[in-house]
Each structure stands twice: as C-alpha cells, then as structure tokens.
C-alpha cells in the first residue's frame, strides 16, 4: 500500500493522495444499495497527463481505478468500488472551461465543471446547454452527459448522447485519444482550434464510434478528460405551460402530437408526487402541494430566441393550446400551487445545497428505464400494484416521463422516497427496489443505463450483446482495471 501511495504521489504530488480513513469512508458507500467497499487511496488529478500516468501505473500494478467527477452524495453505486484494493481517481478538481465558441455553438469542459458553473459562463456568451432535470448543485456536466441522463428538451435531442460532441479520453490500456472529428488532427486542442476544428463531429472519426464505448459505461472503459458540448442560443423569452389530466394516458396523445410537430422546448409528464417533490421546500410543503396539484401534468416549455422571439412564442402558445384542445385538455400558465415560471426555474437550474429528491423523507431510490410513451401507463399500473402489494405508500411514489430522442422513446422514472434513518424501512425499501426492478424488467423495462442490480437483469436478457460488450471491454481495458465489477463485464 505504501509503495502505491509513493508511486501515486510521484505522479500527482503528495498533497493530492489521500488515505485518511474518513476520506476513504466517504468514497466507500453512496445512497444506493451498492455494497460498501473502501478504496485504498484517493487521488485528486489536475490534468490529462496525470490521468494517463495513473492509468499506465494501474495497468502495471493491476490496481483497479474508479473515476469520480461529481461531488457527493452519489446515488447509483457506480462510484463505489466493487472490488478490494481500488484507487479512486477524483476528477472534480479539473474545473476548466477550456473554450467557448459562440459561432460554432460549442463549449469544451473538463470533468469537474458543474452545471451552475457552466451556465454562468455560457450566459455571458449568450448561450446555454440542454440540462438534465434539476441536477444536483455539484453534479458534473460531463458525467451527466456520459451517463446520458435525459435532457428535458427532447425536440433538440437529435442523437441519443446529445449534447456530447468530441472528447479526449484515456482508455483503460493507457492510450490517450481524441474522439469524433478531433480524432484525425493533432492531439492538441489549440492547434486544432487554430485550423477551425472545434470538435463538432461527435462520431468516429473513422469506422469505430468511440463515443458510444464511453457513454453509459460507468467508467469501465476509460476516463474522459474533456468534452465538447453543443450549445444553444440563450432564450430571450422562456415560458412553461401545463396541461393537466386525471391519468397519464389522458396526456399521451397530446404529448405525441407535440413531439410529432416538434413544437415547444421542454416537454415532460409528472405526477403530483413528483412535481411536489421538485417544487416543495420541505416535507410539509410537499405534502400540501400534493393535495393541490392535478394528479398528472404535461409541461411544455416555449422559447423565443434571437429572431422574432415574441412572435415565435405567441405562435407556439396558440398552436400548442389548439392541440391541447383537440385532445380535451387546456394549456394553462399555472396549476394550483405552482406557476409555470416557478416550475421552469426549478427544472432548468441546479438545485440548492440539498438535493431535492431528498427533501421529503431524507432518502430515495429511483427506478428508471427506457420504454415508449404508449407503454408507460401499463408500467405505472404495474408499479402501483407492486407498491400496494409491498405496503409502500403509493401516494409517495413520484412518476416522471421524459420523452427522448425526439419522441422515439421515453425514460420512465419512479421516485421512491423513504426514511433511511429507519433500518426497518430501509430494509423494506431494499427488497422492494430489488423485486420491483426485476418485475419491471420481466415486463419489458429496458435498463439502458444498467446501474447496480439492473446490469445482470438487463445483460442476461441478451447473451450475444453481452458477449460483444465483453470483447469491447477487452479491447479498451485489456487488464480490467477500469471500475471492475460494474456492468457485470
């Protein structure tokens, strides 16, 4: 252990290697049900050269590496070591925004850059990027994009890993590479920029699509040290409207039609429990809001950007209201308890010091997977039945339906708050989480981001894909040092 500490100190400096028990303890567990496992060391890295040296060293010594970019608390188990002897590679200190090109609508970020830091910098240039729903304050933008957390504006999700473009990666075998269009130029950003290449091409650069070996990989194939992200023009006018219904099925045709015409920007469906959790400042306010809010709402954002912003917003307000009316719904700027402006602010901004999903009961578990909008009602009914059978309070269960990829699929998320300080409740939740995940999988839930127990559930459904994934892992991480144990590969 001491030898490893010394070797790492030579790479990153003694002040950036940590083995204090309390620090190791922080990285040994998260808010998921992942089995706690202490790493042997934590190293905080400053640049790609340190990362590359560490990966090469790990290959030589057979040391497992677990990359971490966001601050705590983590929730999906992917940053908790699955094997003994692991070293945490903490990238949260790599906080540079390397460049913003307003003309090419692209920004380059290191892994430690958070949504709030990035939004502030982009706003000065009149730009913004699509965000995941109300991310944690210290959530790494890059980690969020690599895990393909769904963006709230499906209309602009042209391809699945939007807004990712080119990246720099150190693969598990220690090779450093630019992905996408940057992969054909010199491995020097400044030089490429000088020649006008802003890494706007996400795929390739040739026959292998490197970006897709990194996305949803939970750090099992390589460590990304910067990514180019596609930006949008910052709206001059931004409004959010609601359409309410008694059931999710009552909103389905409306949402399909909006998706079909690609109207609006943000588009999502939530039940009252989910929206109340998002909006409420404390448990009592959440409870109160649940009582006021309609059972289900679809939320539609409308923006006016550079050209004729007022006319654009007015046109879409009228057109979307007409569509709502066609399906017996009413488009309104507020529902009891929440206005569009309030909801928009919550949806599109990083939350405060405490993650909003923890407000109601202190802890939560999410079950999320990909399906199609027309199948969501069936899954929701099943989940209700499962909750009732298990004794979990159905009224606490939040449901969030986020259309993706311009509407070809949705992410369906069940949010399950519980009191983690109560051991009996925690044990019950653990079992419910396991059994519900398995049952939903049996019914056709597709865990595209297979965290924790979902990996075997999903991967075991398709032996051929699993086999090719293992071959992929062997190519890019031949010694199996990158986050071993994750994804079951």
């Amino acid at each position: 252990m001491e030898a490893k500490k010394t070797a790492l100190a030579e790479i990153v400096g003694a002040g950036s290697v940590f083995d204090e028990p309390d620090i190791l303890c922080e990285y040994s567990r998260d808010a998921s049900f992942a089995k706690p496992m202490k790493p042997i060391l934590v190293v905080k890295v400053k640049d790609v050269h340190e990362v590359q040296k560490i990966v090469k060293w790990a290959n030589e010594t057979g040391t497992p590496l677990v990359p971490v970019s966001s601050g705590p608390p983590h929730h999906r188990g992917d940053t908790v070591p699955s094997v003994p002897g692991a070293v945490i590679v903490d990238l949260s200190g790599m906080k540079k925004i390397l460049g913003i090109d307003a003309k090419q609508r692209v920004v380059h970020v290191e892994p430690g850059v958070t949504y709030s830091e990035l939004s502030e910098a982009l706003e000065k240039e009149g730009l913004c990027i699509p965000t995941a729903l109300a991310p944690r304050k210290n959530k790494s933008v890059l980690a969020s994009c690599l895990d393909i957390e769904p963006r709230t504006n499906p209309r602009y999700q042209w391809f699945y890993p939007e807004p990712l473009r080119g990246m720099e990666v150190v693969w598990g075998d220690g090779v450093r590479l630019f992905t996408g269009s940057g992969g054909m130029g010199p491995m020097d950003l400044e030089k490429q920029w000088k020649e006008g290449n802003r890494q706007t091409g996400a795929t390739g650069p040739q026959n292998v699509d490197f970006i897709r070996i990194l996305t949803q990989s939970q750090g099992t194939t390589g460590i990304v040290t910067w990514a180019a992200l596609r930006c949008h023009i910052l709206p001059k006018i931004h409004k959010l409207y609601f359409a309410a219904a008694a059931t999710p099925a009552g909103l389905e045709d409306f949402v399909y039609r909006i998706l079909h015409f690609r109207f609006g920007d943000e588009l999502m469906i939530m039940n009252s429990a989910y929206l109340a959790s998002l909006m409420g400042e404390d448990a009592s306010q959440i409870t109160s809001l649940r009582g006021q809010l309609p059972p289900w709402v679809a939320m539609v954002g409308i923006t006016g950007r550079k050209i004729l912003p007022e006319k654009k917003v007015e046109t879409q307000e009228l057109d979307i209201a007409d569509i709502a009316q066609q399906f017996g719904l009413k488009l309104v700027p507020a529902v009891p308890g929440v206005s569009g402006n309030q909801a928009l602010k919550k949806i599109s901004s990083p939350c405060g010091d405490r993650y909003w999903k923890e407000t109601y009961k202190g802890a939560y578990q999410d079950i999320f997977f990909v399906t199609t909008l027309d199948r969501t009602s069936k899954f929701i009914d099943s989940m209700r039945a499962l909750a009732e059978a298990d004794g979990y309070p159905v009224s606490d269960m939040g449901v969030y339906i986020q259309p993706q990829h311009q509407g070809t699929s949705v992410m369906l998320e069940f949010n399950l708050p519980y009191d983690a300080s109560n051991p009996a409740e925690t044990a019950k939740m653990k079992e419910f989480f396991r059994s519900a995940s398995a049952e939903l999988s049996r019914q056709g839930a597709f865990y595209s981001r297979p965290h924790g127990i979902w990996a075997p559930l999903q991967l075991n459904k398709d032996a051929r894909n699993y086999d090719v994934l293992k071959k992929m892992k062997k190519i890019f991480d031949p010694n199996g040092i990158m986050n071993p144990g994750k994804l079951s590969i």
């Binding site: 699945y160 010199p186 491995m187 390739g204 026959n207 079909h260 070809t408 190519i475």
Partner: protein, 558 residues
C-alpha cells in the same frame, strides 16, 4: 475465379437455385468502373473492380447468416450491396462473393413512436412514399432517393438536404439487427432483449459503436439485416403529386410549402444566414443544390431542365439571352430552402423569420426560382431527391472535390478562392467542364439542427474519354495539394484513396500500415484493427475498413 461445385451447392442449398448465379453475364454487372463518378479515389481510366465468384440474393436474416457462416468456413470474402451507388458496395478481391440484398425490402411503420423498421433494400423513395401515408418523411442523403437507407446508415455518411431538420441516418438510427462478420447475429439495444426497436443504445456502452461511426464500415463488417429509423413530420399530402415530363417532373404542393432560392452579396452574409436558419429552426430542407451546374451555367441549365421542349444543345442560345444572364447573375451566391408549416400560424412565422434573415443579411430571393413551374420542380427535386440522373447530365460523369472544412465560417472564407482555383484550371484545360469555377454544392448541415458542413465542388468529366478522366484526376490531385497547403483537411475527391487501389482491388494491409502509422493519432486505426480481430477473425472484409497493425504504431506515439 469460380466457386467449386461443392461450395456453390452449399450456398445454393441456403437460398435456392433461383437466387444464386455465377453466369459470367450476371457477374459482369456487379463490377464498378473507377472511371465512373463519386468513387472518391480517382477517377482512373481503364479499370474495373474484381469479378465476384458468385452473386447471391438472400431473402431473410437466416439466409444471410447461413451465407456468412459458410464464408467463414471457406474463408471467402463477401460484401453486401443495396443500391450499388458507389464503389464501396463492390468487392475488392478475387476470392469473394457479392450479396445483393434486393429481396429484403419490408417496411413497418410505428406511427406513434415515429419509427420505421426497414430491410436493407429499402431505399429513400420507398420509405418516404410509405411514411407519407402516415404524415412522416425520412432523411434522404445526398446520394439520392434510390439509395438503400441501411447502406448509407451503416456503410457511409447518411446526410443530405433534409438532415438539418430530420437528423442524419446515424442520429435517427434506433435498434438494428446485424449478422456479424463471424456469422453471429447481434441485435442492438431494445431489439436484443426483445423489447422492441425503439432504442439502439446500450445496455451500457453501445455495441453499435462497431458499426455506425462517422463513415460507417462500408460493407466490410458483416451484413445489417434490419434497422429502425426515426422519421420526421411531413405536413403534406399522403402522395407526392408529381406531374410533368422527364426531366421536368414537378410537384405542386399546398400553401404550407415553399421553396426559395435565397441570394447573397457575399459569402459572409451567406454563412450568417445559414446560422440564422439553424438558430430559428426555420428550414424543412436546406441545400445549395443547383449550383452543381456551375455559377455561369445554372440559370440556363435550370431553364433547360424545367422545359421539356429544351435540350442541352439549347445551352449556348440561353447563355446569350440577356434575361437568363441577369437571372444567373442574380443568384451567383445562393442556397435553396424549403419551408414547411405545420399549421397556418407556423407557416406565417417561418415566412416572417425568412424576411428578417433577408433584411439582416442584405439578401434577396431569386425571381426566376419563384416562377411556379420552377418552384414546383425545385420542391420535388429537393424533397424526393430523385433527380440524381441530373448529376451526370453535363458529360456523363462527375466527382465531388474540395470538401473544404466542416467549420462553416472557415469554409465560407475559402469558397471564392477555391472557385477561382477551379476556374483557372477550366480556363487552361479541356478535361473538365467549364462552368464558372464555382460549382460548389452541399447540405446545410451534417447534423440535425445545424453544425458541421461539407461543401463539394462538382467536377464534370467524360468517363469514356481517357483525356477527360486523367485530366479530372490531375485536377483533383492539384486541389488536394491546394487543400493541404491551407490546412483544410483532405480533398473529398480523394477521401477513398486509402480504401481501394486505382486498379479496383483492395489495398494490402502493408499499405494501410504505411499510411496510418503516419497520421497524428494512429491509435484510431490500431483500435479498429483490434475490433476487426474480435468480430471478424477470418478477415472477410476488404480495405474500406481502415486498420493499423498495433505493432506498427511509431514508438513515440505508443
């Protein structure tokens, strides 16, 4: 070279005697001339791609799998072709067979989830016609509507005029079914777990990574047998109302469709207008299309092509017509856009945005292109992209070159210089068509919503005239040097030079090693070698798949 009777019989048992042939007359039709257009590595005189040992037409996935397994058993190289537009569809070595996918042509539309699940022979025209019945259209790449969608999605770029609004094939791709080159059957995403065709990503990293990168795998890594593609809205009639006589087919569409040719005083304004189109989600289609006839000829050519009574021999007369001259000059720097309104208000908004762009960019609309017959011709041309025969109309063949830089602002700044360079060659050589230097054309964007671009200059030549072929080749060599001097990347007309030899055969690995060991990031090609080793262990593809033996990576880059 021929298959042995025993091996032939084994293939025959898979598809039946009707769907396999080694008749020399049939085999000859599955060869490609490197003197022909758009091979992107020539043109080269007097060569053909190799003759396949047999041509096989599989009818289903199981048959494809059986064929590929047999190829592995006997180490026979194979290549599947859909529409056979480009040289990449054809085999590159003697001990090879050609698969023609024309029997696999099913289309299934998932209306709610905006998806089409298609077989490999389905082309843009087939899918668009079917999708329009349900209020959808599909991305049709620049290659045209007769091209197989599966081929351009898995084997090439898959982008075109609609991409800015529809997304490119690779963006639209959901799940797919793929017979790997080792004969195993892989279904990606939700198709693999039997949950449907709506998502092709994951679980975890996506195995489609080995198939659908920026240039695809050019048919060198197995056979894709099914794909789910995202569609995009079509607010028009269920059937395109085409009328007219060849080549002047046109479509009169409802008032919620307009086709405009927007003209500019400078390339700066041209580029600014393009980004304004991106930022306002304005266009249904965006392309600089008709400039492929050349800056000096396009007005006259459009007159000829939209009037069934006119022919190429009328060109001289039209060029001397003062009104045609004025109209041609009016649209010297221009692009075409199609606006489509999903509602009446939406159309009004789009028209108003266009007016703002015209005002901001000192731009104007071409009056000639607003004549109803011409606008309706341009609408059909751009929406269906079925007039690709006109690419050849000048003198039988063409090659796209330059390509410039994917950054719009960089490429726009070089456009006039590139045009002048070409014009100088036209003035001093007779090998290529003299059309005013600027014959640059291309789509608004390679990605949905706008972004990377790629502008090609049409170089028209005669594929049956040796001097013209070699002269066109010389010119492309010169433009490649011109591009390199300006750090603009490789010339598009030579983008395949590492992929097939001038004689039509695959390059040997040694040549790839020599070339790819010198690139700035050789590991790109070394990883591709490793991927090939993993799923194509018998090396049954050709040199369109670009690899570098990892042992050949220079020491200073390891």
């Amino acid at each position: 070279m021929k298959l042995s009777p025993e091996i032939y019989k084994e293939f025959e048992e898979i598809v039946g005697p009707r769907y396999i042939s080694q008749d020399p007359g049939v085999l000859e039709t599955y060869r490609c001339m490197p003197a022909q257009s758009s091979a992107h590595y020539g043109p080269y005189w007097d060569h053909m791609t190799p003759t396949p040992m047999a041509v096989i037409l599989p009818g289903c996935t199981e048959e494809v799998q059986g064929i590929v397994r047999l190829c592995n058993k006997y180490k026979i190289k194979f290549k599947a072709g859909g529409s056979f537009w480009g040289a990449m569809a054809y085999i590159g070595s003697d001990y090879s067979i050609q698969l023609d996918m024309r029997r696999m042509r099913k289309i299934e539309i998932d209306v709610k989830n905006q998806l089409a699940i298609i077989d490999p022979y389905v082309n843009g025209a087939m899918l668009q016609s079917e999708a329009m019945k349900y209020g959808f259209s599909c991305n049709i790449p620049g290659v045209g509507c007769s091209s197989s969608i599966v081929a351009s999605a898995s084997g090439w770029g898959g982008v075109g005029p609609s991409t800015v609004c529809s997304g490119g094939h690779k963006e639209n791709l959901c799940a797919l079914e793929w017979v790997l080159p080792n004969g195993e059957l892989l279904r990606t995403g939700t198709a693999g777990s039997g949950d449907g065709w709506f998502c092709g990503e994951g679980p975890g990293p996506s195995t489609r990574a080995f198939l659908t990168a920026s240039m695809g795998v050019c048919g060198e890594m197995g056979v894709v047998t099914k794909m789910a593609m995202r569609l995009y809205p079509w607010p028009g009639p269920a059937v395109l109302p085409s009328t007219g006589t060849v080549p002047a087919y046109k479509a009169a569409l409802p008032d919620n469709f307009r086709c405009y040719t927007v003209c500019f005083p400078s390339w700066d304004m041209w580029a600014k207008a393009l980004t304004m189109c991106y930022d306002s989600d304005l266009v249904y289609l965006g392309h600089r299309q008709f400039n492929m006839f050349g800056r000096d000829l396009k007005g006259a050519m459009i007159r000829i092509l939209t009037d069934p009574d006119k022919q190429l021999c009328d060109l001289e007369e039209l060029l001397s017509d003062p009104e045609v001259k004025r109209q041609t000059e009016e649209m010297k720097l221009e692009f075409q856009i199609v606006l489509a309104g999903y509602t009446k208000r939406d159309m009004e908004l789009k028209e108003a945005i266009l007016q703002e762009i015209l005002k901001e960019c000192d731009a104007w609309l071409s009056s000639m292109m607003l004549e109803p017959d011409i606008e309706n011709w341009a609408l059909l041309y751009l929406i269906r992209l079925g007039h690709k025969n006109l690419n050849y109309v000048m003198c039988g063949s063409y090659e796209g070159n330059f390509g410039l830089n994917p950054n719009l602002w960089v490429s726009a700044s070089y456009m006039e210089e590139a045009a002048a360079f070409k014009k100088q060659w036209e003035d001093t050589h007779t090998s290529i068509v003299k059309n005013g230097g600027d014959s640059e054309m291309g789509s608004f964007s390679f990605t949905g919503g706008g972004g990377a671009v790629g502008w090609e200059f049409f170089v028209d030549f005669d594929a049956y005239d040796k001097d013209s072929v070699t002269g066109a080749c010389d010119f492309i060599d010169e433009t490649e040097k011109w591009m390199a001097e300006r750090h603009l990347g490789g010339d598009m007309g030579r983008s395949n030079k590492y992929l097939r030899q001038p004689n039509g055969y695959d390059w040997p690995q040694e040549k790839h090693n020599e070339l790819f060991s010198k690139v700035p990031q050789p590991h790109v090609f070394a990883y591709q070698w490793k991927v090939r080793e993993a799923i194509n262990p018998n090396l049954l593809g050709g040199s369109y798949y670009r690899t570098l033996d990892p042992e050949m990576i220079p020491e200073n880059k390891r």
